[in-house]
Symmetry: C2
Subunit: 189 residues, 2 copies
DNA sequence: GACGCTTGTCAACAGGCGTTGACAAAGCCA
DNA sequence: TGGCTTTGTCAACGCCTGTTGACAAGCGTC
């Protein structure tokens, strides 16, 4: 993706390229594991330029988080189908399940004190809030938290298996079939 | 807790003191956030001594993880009561819910690539495995994963709220009441 | 009491980090 | 063409980290 030759002089394009790379990195590695020089290398640029464009690593992190949009991707599609659809994605298509790059970033950095602090403020606003509104009905707040918690928890569980759930294919189907109605029950109210 | 005067010369006691402090630190902060000097200060000892006793930071980390025991604390008590009991702990007594210090350590360090790698190996053996055996019955593997995922997910959700769920007390009760039957259904089979 | 092993401290090292300021090159405008 | 601003690079700084080897002090043993 990184083509040779000097990078064309285009501040706006470079800036968004940096932001894209940062979002990708922060979604794949923890705040501490991601280095400015890593991101710079991804873009094909000097690390110093990032500091000039975004100020500090912290500022870049929140910019990357803010650029993820809200959880609308998760909430697209039929409500009646949500349980099966999301359960399937969680078990069989983890990459797709993490449409919300922001969720990956949260998960990656929840351990780091500094990153967690930055995440917390935007989390309720960008994630819990929209989900709550979308759910509506009784106890929407609580149902949203449970839903988000379960989805993130399954991501953690997968991560602990080393990227996969590390179970038989047949077990995967059973997992999906057990997960689906639980999620759906939280959607339905 | 750190009494003045020179530490009495007692290698065994010092070693376990270091291990205890490390377990506590790693359960409260991410692998990267915990420094050797932090742990050393907790114990009232020089950081160099830790290297001598445990080799490297990595070795200390796995030692701390290994010292957490298996998930037996989670599995004590009546099965018929599990849902309500654990749901209550998750919502109202997070510290108690994390009886399994190992779970906290996993959560804290799941983002860091290096720490995650160390965690993965012992996770199945020390956490998923015992839980699976305890559950027994049909699809025990899958149910164990779901159970563990949900519990950890609620921890993440709480963490994203900044240490609490950040919801009204009345909502907390509703959360508990919705969570309990879901957990219990996974116990019952 | 003197030796020797153990236990602990101290200072320093190499390496990595985010960040900074000086410099080079590209494009624009007169 | 000559200056000026923008865009990007480079080298270096200060800081922090885990780790090491040399040194000091305690304690049992001969």
């Amino acid at each position: 993706m990184l083509c040779p030759g000097p990078r064309p002089r285009n501040a706006a394009a470079t800036r968004t390229a940096i932001l894209d790379a940062a979002r990708e990195r922060f979604a794949a590695e923890s705040y501490d594991d991601v280095g400015m020089r890593d991101i710079a290398r991804d873009v094909g640029v000097d690390a110093a330029l990032i500091s000039r464009y975004f100020g500090s690593k912290d500022d870049l992190f929140v910019a990357a988080l803010d650029s993820c949009g809200d959880g609308s991707a998760l909430m697209s599609g039929e409500k009646a189908d949500f349980g099966r659809r999301v359960a399937h994605e969680i078990v069989f298509e983890p990459k797709k399940a993490e449409k919300l790059k922001g969720m990956s970033i949260m998960l990656r950095s929840i351990g780091s004190a500094k990153a967690a602090e930055m995440v917390q403020s935007s989390c309720t606003q960008r994630f819990f809030g929209p989900l709550e509104d979308w759910l509506s009905g009784p106890d929407a707040t609580v149902r949203a938290r449970l839903l988000a918690g379960f989805i993130m928890g399954m991501s953690v569980s997968r991560e602990l298996g080393g990227g996969t759930f590390n179970i038989e294919p047949a077990e995967c189907e059973k997992m999906r079939d057990r997960l689906a109605p639980i999620l759906q029950s939280l959607i339905d109210g």
